[in-house]
Symmetry: C2
């Protein structure tokens, strides 16, 4: 019966990271492979209170079918937070609540992409976006990333020659690299896009996880009519609730709502009310400060361990927030071979090649520091260093 499968799924490869995570889950393995928040920081008790309050006070409404757009209070909360933290002028009516921001990517692909349409993607780029958009059979136009953001010469070339509909970017603490776009690069990218028939997806799941430095200018402020701004509560409250959102111009939001209704009618209404109650009754800034304090400490521990245990030829990014470090090995070293050697030494990471749309191996890798304590981080990087030295000797 396999010949019944659609072309789009026949072309999709099983997720390499899924296989990595299965292996990394074995007991005895220290894993820097996942992208998991630290669960000890989840606001379990506050969510328990919020859940009881919602079911006591509005149980019937919280359990009934609800609006495709999402819970009105939650949409207003998001709009108000954009105003308070970034002075962005966003109407709650421009916000669609999605089943995590991964669903925003799927809906964007559904509403905008025909087979063969061009999509500019950072190289390396977020794997989840590659997976979601791949099913709409676009032509990916990879453009290199440097420490300040996407390469503007490469971007200009892709815009002029590939005539893309979309540019996908994670401008703050990018997954996988950890880099953030400089202010100057943001303005250069916006100037390149302005007036063209192209939309920019500003995916910002990590922006609130900032250890230092000033909050940069959102692409939404620079290009309000051409930007689709994506956000998520997964990293600042809890990922299992699958609550993200998309901010879009009204003409596009109407279409996204039609696609959302066809996809799953609406996002979990009980969880939307639960989250809204939690946000109303608790100090989210204090909670985020508690998270960034821990993550900043864990990142520093990983940087120290890397300086101590890894050879000098390994280059590491220096993010000021987020969840990941990105390592570049000496050119001749295969990250896939290092992965095998590291597993034998009891440590896992994600080899870099799945973050490129056109590679089978690379000399790069992603390290997550949010889901292990500092002693475990030191032990894991020590194991990684030993594996790398064996491989390079």
């Amino acid at each position: 019966m396999e010949q019944l499968l659609s072309q789009r799924i026949s072309n999709a490869r099983p997720s390499f990271i899924r296989e990595v995570l299965k292996v990394a889950d074995n007991p005895g393995i220290i894993s820097f492979a996942g992208g998991l928040p630290n669960p000890t920081l989840f606001p379990v008790a506050a969510l328990k209170q919020a859940s009881a309050a919602i079911l006591d006070e509005e149980g019937e409404a919280a359990l009934q079918y609800t609006a495709t757009e999402g819970h009105g209070g939650l949409r207003r909360w998001i709009a108000e937070r954009y105003r308070a933290t970034q002075n962005l002028d966003i109407d709650p009516g421009q916000i669609l609540i999605t089943n995590g921001s991964q669903q925003a990517l799927d809906l964007i692909g559904k509403v905008l992409l025909d087979a063969g349409d061009g999509v500019v993607i950072e190289q390396p780029g977020y794997l989840g976006a590659i997976q979601a958009l791949t099913l709409y059979q676009p032509q990916f136009l990879p453009v290199a990333l440097d420490d300040d953001g996407i390469d503007c010469e490469g971007l200009r070339h892709a815009l002029d020659n590939g005539r893309p509909k979309l540019l996908y970017t994670v401008p703050n603490f990018q997954n996988p690299s950890g880099i953030s776009y400089s202010e100057r690069r943001r303005r250069e990218v916006a100037a390149l896009l302005a007036g063209r028939k192209v939309l920019l997806i500003e995916d910002n799941p990590y922006g609130e996880l900032r250890f230092g430095g000033a909050v940069p200018t959102s692409f939404h402020a620079l290009l309000p009519q051409q930007t689709l701004l994506l956000g998520s509560f997964s990293k600042i409250v809890a990922p299992s609730l699958r609550l993200g959102w998309i901010v879009a111009p009204h003409w596009l939001l109407q279409k996204l709502i039609i696609a959302k209704q066809a996809a799953d009618l609406h996002t979990n209404g009980f969880s939307q009310r639960l989250l809204h109650r939690y946000l109303r009754d608790n100090d989210i800034d204090r909670h985020i400060a508690a998270i960034t304090e821990v993550y900043g400490r864990q990142k520093a521990a990983m940087e120290q361990a890397i300086a101590h245990y890894l050879p000098a030829g390994v280059r590491i990014t220096a993010p000021q927030g987020g969840m990941f470090l990105w390592a570049e090995l000496p050119p001749q070293v295969s990250a896939l071979r290092l992965f095998e050697a590291a597993l034998e030494n009891g440590v896992a990471f994600v080899p870099g090649h799945p973050f490129y749309v056109d590679r089978d191996d690379s000399n790069t890798l992603r390290l997550n520091y949010t889901n292990a304590d500092t002693a475990t981080i030191d032990d894991g990087i020590r194991r990684l260093g030993a594996a790398l030295k064996t491989l390079m000797s």
Copy 2:
């Protein structure tokens, strides 16, 4: 910028029912238009207990990212219930938990349909399926429904000439008609499909809402390798939790998992554990009996009111369960014109034409009886009868 939209969304019409429901929501209108469960029956207190228990005992795991396939305990519970209630032999590994069974339809479309592929659909048929699958640009092959199920001559013709990949059916208490397939018709349909390269979608959200009669044979028992069996907790526990599932052969489930991961990573994990705890700690059969007792009473009230207030030329289906009655007006009466007249009289329903893939009006309409008490039902049908008499005079 509208020229950036994909072909698939440019062809999608805004939902007529969405507009109907907005109008029907006005104060003073008695609405039989929606498909809402009666919220007074939601197990609010038991869910509050289950939520507290989950967050106390497994809070960190319940709030973390989880498996794309779904929660293991919930998948086993579903498999065991199929065994207990229908003697179906289903491996939990064949089950994917979805964000409501609407998402199952979207994932099936994504994994199986290329533009132009044939899909047999009941006429009238479930609007949500039409909406979800329309975005994959199939060729719909409508086949008439009678009181025993889909018309087998029409089906044979569609199979021979349209070479469809899929047949979509709601065999129990169909939405919108309320009809159920007879045992004989099920076997005739299965015999027609057996051995062909076609899959049957058995969508069964209402099967447990049975007021009388024996549980019929599932298509999954008749055609296990060709059936995709869809289920939902929306009608027996609570719709806002968005918890449904799909049972598929292993070769197909692997592809559905890839599509699910791309679509939203996984279904809300907190809600899955919450529901599983609720099912473990409560008697779901007793809860379902309480629901069907109320719905059966409400259905009888609507049938009595129809006999009393509507003219004899109106034909009504006689379902033994589910949530809907389907009315056929005299041939010359437009349901759209009746809708306008009824609204003026303070009562709403859904005109029948959106349930057909090729009509702009019809002499049919859908009436929901689950979300109004018996006195309101009597009042609403009285108003409908007055509107109809005015229109027909």
